[in-house]
């Protein structure tokens, strides 16, 4: 990595560390959960990781076919990881294993949709290739 690129990566990581650190401090010290801080620190870490991998904070830039292959496979794996994490968070936060006892309906809806979105998208996208 070039020196400039290293510096930008360090700055991006520091930004994440400051935002996350401040959010954690407010929670530990005052018991306040800052949704904005959680979201901002997620954005900051995504910028950092994108910069390290692609040299662009939004993951853009010139990519050859291996890079595009990595992007595609990572998207698939990431989708399933997110599905599993959402389900885990739902059951852990609710503290129940019976779906009928769950009260967090929005999160339950998100988890349910995560099973449906991929097949629907495949169905719609496949029409592009059929005559």
């Amino acid at each position: 990595m070039s020196r400039t690129r290293n510096m930008i990566a360090v700055i991006a990581f520091l930004a994440f560390a400051v935002i996350a650190g401040f959010t954690i401090y407010k929670y530990v010290r005052y018991g306040i959960v800052e949704g904005g801080g959680i979201f901002a620190s997620s954005l900051a870490v995504s910028y950092f990781l994108n910069w390290v991998k692609w040299g662009d904070h939004e993951g853009g830039g010139e990519k050859d076919e291996l890079d595009r292959h990595i992007e595609t496979q990572s998207a698939k794996i990431g989708y399933f990881l997110l599905m599993i994490l959402a389900a885990l968070i739902l059951f852990i936060s609710e503290g129940v294993t019976n779906l009928n006892d769950i009260q967090n309906y929005p999160l339950l809806l998100v988890v349910s949709l995560s099973f449906v979105i991929l097949p629907i998208t495949e169905l719609i996208y496949s029409r592009k290739f059929k005559s």
Binding site: D64, E65, L66, D67, H69
Partner: protein, 69 residues
């Protein structure tokens, strides 16, 4: 898919970087293909065969197939 890219590349005295430049891909892509970690697209397979001066059938070996001399 098994391939003989490294063999023909060395015969042509080309580095991975130079071959990558000729085929307009990154050196990592050539390295991944040579080490059977990634199968190239049809276009890249054609480009590799052309740059190395061989036929595709000589460059890429089908799974379980015999290598043609």
């Amino acid at each position: 898919m098994k391939n003989r890219i490294k063999e023909f590349r060395e015969k042509n005295e080309l580095s991975q970087g130079k071959l990558a430049e000729l085929c307009q891909v990154s050196r990592q892509t050539i390295n991944a293909i040579e080490n059977d970690k990634y199968d190239p697209s049809l276009k890249l397979a054609f480009d590799l065969a052309r740059q190395l001066g061989v036929k595709m059938e000589e460059l890429f070996l089908p799974e379980g197939g015999r290598q043609n001399e």
